[in-house]
């Protein structure tokens, strides 16, 4: 499939020894079980019972096993084929809590099935809709997801009772859990940081037991079904409500785009010569994501999505073999047959849940910010991003006012995530009006024209919302080109620069009358360079080729024409 990079010991197609595969698979499965905290949060927020919690934990384990298997498959158009573990995703949490509060857990699960089906359909048209959802729009959605989690997370973290009463024991448990998770992620060297959440969680359980925050009597019932038994999940009472369709479709969209980003990361990790995303592969991955999410709803848990934490784990351990993913799904499935695991997880102390959510919210907020600043921002985009976040925050602040809205409108406006995402999409489309996708510049054959050209691409890049690194490559290629044209006195008269941008490509054409550009691909040897320093100018063509994805040197109507093509 691809060339294995230097840091990777077992590449995607490699078959590691069985013992190694099993050890790595257990490691992935244990990390996946830690994130059961999200569906537990859903049960807790909707006032579910202990039986609900146990059922949701078992359903989550089965959903993660099934989703991971599909994602690693890469057969008959299904799955990316990379080691990408599926988790019950925090992306689905805010809307699922909203649905559960409106119509019980059955409504949350029923709507998740529809969201999954939407993702399946979306996967077929992913490439066509890419321009509607640029990274800064997705960034706004991810930031709002993180912000939406702050309220429930902090309430649990401090053990808030009533308005001004804080439970010091609960606070101590949460503080120990979070302090360990954060400090182990920052300071230690080596692989220990990969287990920071797991270690923090275990310490949290211990602290909760010591301080009496956890129900000790409940722990005695952990072994009541024995060590091994068939998994038991209650049949969910699936429901559907039109009013919730928009928030769930928005969630499915963000989950699909998040999965797409994760799969592109897998492609980069596994290919030393990675240049651009393999969108057919991404589409197969998003299809598996959709089927996995629909299956999660059907089983009775939160929608599943690809876990970036597991991708980081596979990259850090240098083991990205598909087989590890397949065996992880088998290990997870086996876990579902061990009832004490589900029972123990379902009794996760509330302050521990709070600490994990604070940790996750911090990551979500900063990931969203990273997405936003990955594009160049001009005034239009600043208002799109800032305005949408303000709308989302207003939805949190004006709860009482929003409750008076009709149910169909309340479901959208009452969800900070949904309203901010919709606002970002609408403003992105609105602000496109008046932004020309074509631009041109006429410069004199002087070295100072390089400064003018760099500024031109800076401002156009911001207006287009282009990727910063692509604009940097364009500026480098055109600077190199102009420098050679000027210094070798190739142009007679002005130089014309034409640029055309869409979400997928950026094409630049440089035209001038005069002598042809030195387009040779041959580079002078080190000895030749030391013997004649002017030899470097002859390799300008090679330097331009390394910046652009495609370069064509041509003559059109007696004018020299250099076409530079950049993938975006």
């Amino acid at each position: 499939m691809e060339q294995k990079p230097a840091g990777i010991i077992y590449g995607v197609n490699d078959i590691p020894p069985f013992r190694t595969t099993l050890l790595l698979a257990v490691q992935h499965a244990v990390l996946a079980l830690v994130f059961i905290v999200y569906p537990l949060m859903l049960v807790s927020e909707s006032g579910g019972t202990q039986i609900d919690a146990e059922g949701v934990v078992t359903a989550s384990i089965l959903a993660m096993s099934f989703g991971t298997f599909l994602q690693c498959l890469d057969r008959k158009g299904m799955g990316s084929g990379y080691l990408a573990v599926q988790l019950t995703s925090p992306i689905y949490l805010p809307v699922s809590i909203q649905a559960a509060k409106m119509g019980g857990l059955g409504l949350a699960f029923g709507m998740t099935v529809f969201a999954g089906i939407f993702s399946v359909i979306f996967s077929r048209f992913l490439n066509y809709f890419r321009s509607l959802f640029p990274p800064e729009v997705c960034g706004v959605a991810v930031v709002m997801l993180g912000i939406s989690m702050v309220g429930p997370a902090v309430t649990r973290f401090v053990g808030l009772h009533g308005i001004n009463s804080i439970d010091p024991h609960a606070f101590a448990v949460a503080a120990v859990t979070l302090a360990l998770m954060v400090s182990l992620s920052i300071w230690p060297r080596g692989h220990i940081r990969l287990y920071s959440v797991l270690i923090g969680l275990t310490a949290g359980y211990g602290a909760a037991l010591w301080l009496g925050v956890i129900d000790r009597a409940g722990l005695h019932s952990v072994m009541e079904r024995g060590l091994l038994a068939l998994p038991m999940i209650p049949v969910p009472d699936w429901k559907f409500q039109w009013a919730l369709l928009t928030p769930f479709l928005m969630t499915a969209l963000v989950s699909s785009l998040d999965t797409a980003a994760c799969i592109i990361t897998c492609q980069k990790i596994n290919q030393s010569d990675w240049v651009r995303p393999d969108m057919a592969n991404v589409s197969r991955g998003v299809l598996a994501d959709g089927v996995g999410a629909a299956m999660s709803g059907a089983l009775g848990t939160l929608g599943a999505g690809v876990s970036s934490a597991h991708i980081a784990l596979s990259s850090a351990t240098g083991a990205t073999a598909r087989r590890i993913g397949i065996l992880t799904s088998v290990v997870l499935l086996a876990t579902a047959f061990v009832p004490p695991i589900a029972k123990l997880l379902s009794r996760m102390p509330t302050p521990v849940i709070g600490a994990v959510l604070v940790y996750a919210a911090a990551f979500l907020i900063t990931s969203g910010m990273e997405l936003i600043v990955s594009r160049m921002l001009d005034t239009r985009r600043i208002f799109m991003v800032g305005g949408s976040i303000i709308v989302g925050l207003a939805s949190i602040q004006l709860t009482e006012l929003i409750r008076q809205l009709p149910p169909w409108l309340y479901s959208i406006v009452g969800s900070p995530f949904a309203i901010a995402s919709l606002c970002a999409i609408a403003l992105n489309l609105l602000f496109r009006i008046g932004t020309a996708q074509n631009a041109s510049l006429l410069v004199k054959p002087l070295l100072t024209s390089i400064i003018e050209t760099v500024s031109f691409f800076e401002s156009r890049g911001a207006a287009w919302g282009a990727r910063r690194q692509v604009i940097h490559r364009v500026q480098s290629a055109v600077s190199e080109l102009l420098e050679t044209v000027v210094l070798m006195e190739l142009a007679e008269g002005d130089i014309e620069i034409l640029a055309r941008f869409d979400e997928y490509h950026l094409d630049v054409i440089v035209r001038y009358s005069g002598l042809p550009f030195p387009s040779s691909e041959e580079c002078p040897s080190p000895e030749q360079l030391l013997a004649d320093e002017n030899a470097i100018l002859r390799m300008s063509g090679s330097l331009i080729r390394q910046y652009a994805d495609q370069v064509v040197f041509d003559v059109q109507k007696d004018r020299q024409c250099i076409s530079l093509h950049f993938e975006h």
């Binding site: 400064i451 500026q475 600077s479 420098e483 580079c523 002078p524 470097i536 390799m539 330097l543």
Partner: protein, 125 residues
């Protein structure tokens, strides 16, 4: 869109040249003017600190070649420190990394200069 240069004399005959910004057709003349005084037989080592160099064009490379040609021709050495990936790629394409010492960070470079200084002091005893 400009180039700032800081030149530090580490010890007699050893200079660190720090680039900040772009080294291209618009800035090479200014750069050349600052480097030329260093191109004397007494100069044994020149280290280019590339940490904050954002872009280098073929004219920028030409200055590095000229410096290398002079210093190595007089038995000295030219070093690089902390090259950004995009800059390193340009040097690779130009076949200019061969025969040059590249330090990953300031500590490696300082260690090198400390050894050099010790050698000089030992030779004076």
């Amino acid at each position: 869109m400009s180039l700032t240069m800081k030149i530090e004399n580490k010890m007699p005959g050893c200079h660190v040249v720090k680039f900040i910004g772009r080294l291209d057709g618009t800035t090479y003349a200014e750069c050349e003017a600052k480097i030329n005084p260093l191109l004397i037989p007494a100069t044994r080592d020149i280290m280019f600190d590339m940490t904050n160099l954002d872009y280098i064009s073929s004219m920028g490379l030409r200055i590095i070649i000229t410096t290398r040609k002079f210093i190595e021709g007089n038995g000295g050495r030219v070093h690089m420190m902390n090259m950004q990936p995009q800059i390193e790629k340009v040097f690779k394409i130009a076949n200019m990394l061969e025969g040059m010492t590249i330090f990953a960070n300031i500590k490696e470079a300082d260690d090198y200069f400390a050894v050099m200084q010790k050698k000089v002091l030992d030779s004076l005893r």
